[in-house]
Symmetry: C4
Subunit: 357 residues, 4 copies
Amino acid sequence: MSARPSLRISTPLNGLLAALGLAAVAALTTRNIGATARLSLELVLGGLWLFYVLQLADTLAAWPTADRRALMPHLVIDMVAVVVPLAAFLFADPRDQSLYCGVWLLKPLRHSTFFRLLGRVVARAAPNLVGVTSLFGIVLFGASLVAYLIERDIQPDKFGSIPQAMWWAVVTLSTTGYGDEIPQTLAGRVLAGLVMMSGIGIFALWAGILATGFFEEVRRQDFVRNWQLVAAVPLFEKLGSAAFVEIVRALRPRAVPAGSIICRKGEPGDQMYFIVEGRVTIATPSPTPVELGPGSFFGEMALISGEPRSATVTAATEVSLLSLYSEDFQMLSSSNPEIAEVIRRTAETRRGRAPEA
Amino acid sequence: MSARPSLRISTPLNGLLAALGLAAVAALTTRNIGATARLSLELVLGGLWLFYVLQLADTLAAWPTADRRALMPHLVIDMVAVVVPLAAFLFADPRDQSLYCGVWLLKPLRHSTFFRLLGRVVARAAPNLVGVTSLFGIVLFGASLVAYLIERDIQPDKFGSIPQAMWWAVVTLSTTGYGDEIPQTLAGRVLAGLVMMSGIGIFALWAGILATGFFEEVRRQDFVRNWQLVAAVPLFEKLGSAAFVEIVRALRPRAVPAGSIICRKGEPGDQMYFIVEGRVTIATPSPTPVELGPGSFFGEMALISGEPRSATVTAATEVSLLSLYSEDFQMLSSSNPEIAEVIRRTAETRRGRAPEA
Amino acid sequence: MSARPSLRISTPLNGLLAALGLAAVAALTTRNIGATARLSLELVLGGLWLFYVLQLADTLAAWPTADRRALMPHLVIDMVAVVVPLAAFLFADPRDQSLYCGVWLLKPLRHSTFFRLLGRVVARAAPNLVGVTSLFGIVLFGASLVAYLIERDIQPDKFGSIPQAMWWAVVTLSTTGYGDEIPQTLAGRVLAGLVMMSGIGIFALWAGILATGFFEEVRRQDFVRNWQLVAAVPLFEKLGSAAFVEIVRALRPRAVPAGSIICRKGEPGDQMYFIVEGRVTIATPSPTPVELGPGSFFGEMALISGEPRSATVTAATEVSLLSLYSEDFQMLSSSNPEIAEVIRRTAETRRGRAPEA
Amino acid sequence: MSARPSLRISTPLNGLLAALGLAAVAALTTRNIGATARLSLELVLGGLWLFYVLQLADTLAAWPTADRRALMPHLVIDMVAVVVPLAAFLFADPRDQSLYCGVWLLKPLRHSTFFRLLGRVVARAAPNLVGVTSLFGIVLFGASLVAYLIERDIQPDKFGSIPQAMWWAVVTLSTTGYGDEIPQTLAGRVLAGLVMMSGIGIFALWAGILATGFFEEVRRQDFVRNWQLVAAVPLFEKLGSAAFVEIVRALRPRAVPAGSIICRKGEPGDQMYFIVEGRVTIATPSPTPVELGPGSFFGEMALISGEPRSATVTAATEVSLLSLYSEDFQMLSSSNPEIAEVIRRTAETRRGRAPEA
């Protein structure tokens, strides 16, 4: 899709390069750094900047043909990574120029699947997260107000105003506990104990909300993954969308311990399998057995011809499978006559090609 | 429902106003504040108080016609927000008058769905939360007693009594760690290590209980949401309550990746769809396609007339749907003869109105 | 079951009494306490001890008739609460006598359902909890060893031996951070950062394991609760155990929003309901409607006679119900002929008694 | 499988031995240790080393016959535990020789089921865990950069470079809070508050991801456990793999409260039971009742002969069961004619042997 594939670097490498740049930025701020070291570090930053210019050019080159909605965030990140350091070089105080390369922090967000997942979890849980944050704010202000009332006459330099007391409150509510401001009265210490416990509770709420959000999102991704597994089977390509959804819904997950036999040669076969995770071994007549991994499927002949299994399949590792049963599939093909034709042709092709489980 | 809709402010605005007031309260407690700044801040408080008087009047005006059980908490919050600062202005020490505006902390609780949810989670998990809190108390007291025994002779000023040792224990058990009281003996340090680990464990218990509570509550809300989705379909308005529940129970969730075709024009349709989340595009004969969002439904003609889909519907974003199958619906209508009549009439009206998926 | 019901105090009161005793123990250790106050506190302890003697006597009185396996832990707690302070009074150093009342910490464990639940969760998750604790130990020792190597020459007074470094490690790994021992070298600080992150990770593991354990246990308790709800229905008392399990398995949970109609007078009824949580209102012919709460059931006439509902039932609050469908029940009664007889008799009795939903 | 069974020590003992060795290593680093104590500790290390040599020999002896893939990690751990201290003894600085016994930290990893489980959870959640760790890194660097900008002129000795500011940031983001570096400006304190809240949030993400991972893994292990329970039933040994999977899928879990009757003598039996957890009592004609525990099964005669239950079975504790229904089993045996033969023979054997529930 692009003429400069060398710039399509992998996500980990992308992260490492950004980390290198940021390390150079950090090193440049240390005082007793020699002139040579300074120069080398600045060369690293310059080199990275040039690389990011090329990366930006590459993204721009992909622009006319790509899905713009998906590419836009990348483009923004790539432009910021080039423009901000350049502007800093031209206009900023020389002492601080290198600091502006700190925007390279954003680089790891490109192509990251985790940040997309996180974005979705946070978006779904947003009302609750906002709610917990307000609760945090309410407890914070309330604790500051009460601590100010209790301690203002005993420690006027530390609890002499609500903003000062608020510093104590945030340090305590987050259970950080720097120890620079500590209530001295009994009432203040009881309050501190309650604030610490509230902090733990709010923390637990946050964890509970995010755990629920992650669990829901992972289940949702499972459905999408099943969809994609099914979509990869040539046999199902021609199916109408309703029949397609039916098949996805009909899939039944199961896990098989390593070493178990999944289907045995000569047995009647009533289901086909999609591998979600792990590997299976197919004992073919040839001396080297065939191994299949995630995304593969086997046993589809059973759905087409109703013939016995043509090979024994064993779980090489613990395997997560999705089963599609013959009944479910037949029900669909009887109501969609065009499937019957697809099936018949596919069955003929495959049988001519290779022994299949 | 009210003659002063301008006072029906949104939840975020409500929170911001309260935050403004509380910021003014906090600022007024700082020492080196000029007379002008003080006056402006007091004017802010006065203005907010007047606004809260109006809000209270508005709530009172809604009282005769509203659901009193639901309105009561609002009324209490609104009254406290007006009466407490007024009483403080009349009777309290001038230095502290503005502090009483701290009751405005309660304002964000009005209309908040999160605090209702939280209340329900906490109410259901109450026995367990009380249990963990007692466990916290038991470990706290036990640790204080043992720390007192171990350290009282080495650091009599810090561990000279159980209440003093308890301050150390709460700071340690919550992993806050101010560092003002630290055990010096080996036994004391081993105890401290155990207390820290217990603290982490208790914390984890809290998180586990709240995570479970949130998960259960979210599932429960899902049922209520499905109920409301179904209740919004005109076709189902006339259904008896038992049939209605059956329909809700028959809904099957599924997620569709962005860009997938949900149903295709001319295909036989056997289900209708409710959109829980995301958006779909309906390709109508007119040039601009129709988009539907959360809470909408489509494909209900299939349940009524059994005709093929009249339009292709595509997932504009990843979409969460609930499907209601023809069989489930027919089963109900065959046993409830009045539904058949409703269906016949609805089908006639709709067919005359617009092409529908 | 006992002749002294006054001693069967409720769980909260039990906890409060123990808290009172422990507060007195704590107060007695403070230094500047007057002779009168000391005497009053000692009287409180003495009074509580007498109460605990009576409670022990009460438990002993219940011994011959009670389920000994369930009563044993109570008896042990009651005996310890009496014997330990007595022994301390007779043999211990007078200064420390009152401290032995600290064993009253155990009193809140009597009758606590939470500690039973916690015990079960911990027992099931024990291998994993032991595993995380060993992981904690391994990281702790490893961090101490490395910190000792890094810092022993720079801060020999703080990191001069592994046990000393271990104190730093446990304070850091639990993210308590007293701040009394802080690595000074760059390597030491990098190590500290890694230790803090490991601490957070181990903490999260603990939370994850306990959250899973609680979730599983809550689901399990739901089944047991359903069992008890069904067991409370007179109609089902005579059922054989297999039929009984079938009924429990056949229950289907659902939540109904407040104000919804659950069943309507005159509608055909095909299910009966058990209330798990919340309240329903039954509109009876008499002016005051009947309210039912958790543990109640209604609509059972539908299972017996197949007659239409005799009253409209509305959800007064959001209600959690379990439905038992007519089919499921009929299936059972057709195979268990003795049920038919029970049903016929019960139907007759109830119909003569009151209008029922 | 081995000629030296004395060396096959249990996992807890293995852990204790390693802990003993590590305690000796730690003790040897303390300064004021007498010559005698030093000698004893060195003897402990020497003794343990000899034991580990024998353990290594034992593992090597098992090598020719064992599953090498499973044994390899044990072998590596055993070799490292012997070779590293030996090399240290020969070549290292005498002061540090004993420290090298720190590799015995690895010993508890042998045979640990928890570390295998943890490895699987971490492997599945790896992309998300890496993502949260990068988020941690991004927030850490961003906070350091901003803190450096804010505080560098006020506290040049503590925030004078980004690496210095990063020490503050990691101590704050992990909510450890040593208190050695504290921002003094208002902006710095607001930043600190935000960093603490981010720290809590990232922590919660970690907990949420691991909780989800554990939950999924536990469900997965449940399937594998069910598989093994079924595989232990002699009756099912001859089943083909497809039929076998069907049986596993047909199992229905249920929990029975302690004291409940699971099946009653003379009742028609339509299911057999596998005990997952807890114990049941079978009332046999002989005076001492038989108790069964986890992994046992009973009531299988019902599946074979359809005869009434031959004994009453009661739950001695709360019991988790898996039920296999007669229908499910018959359906399978009707389509697999060889099962019918197995059944007939097994029924005859068992009936001749013992009364069975």
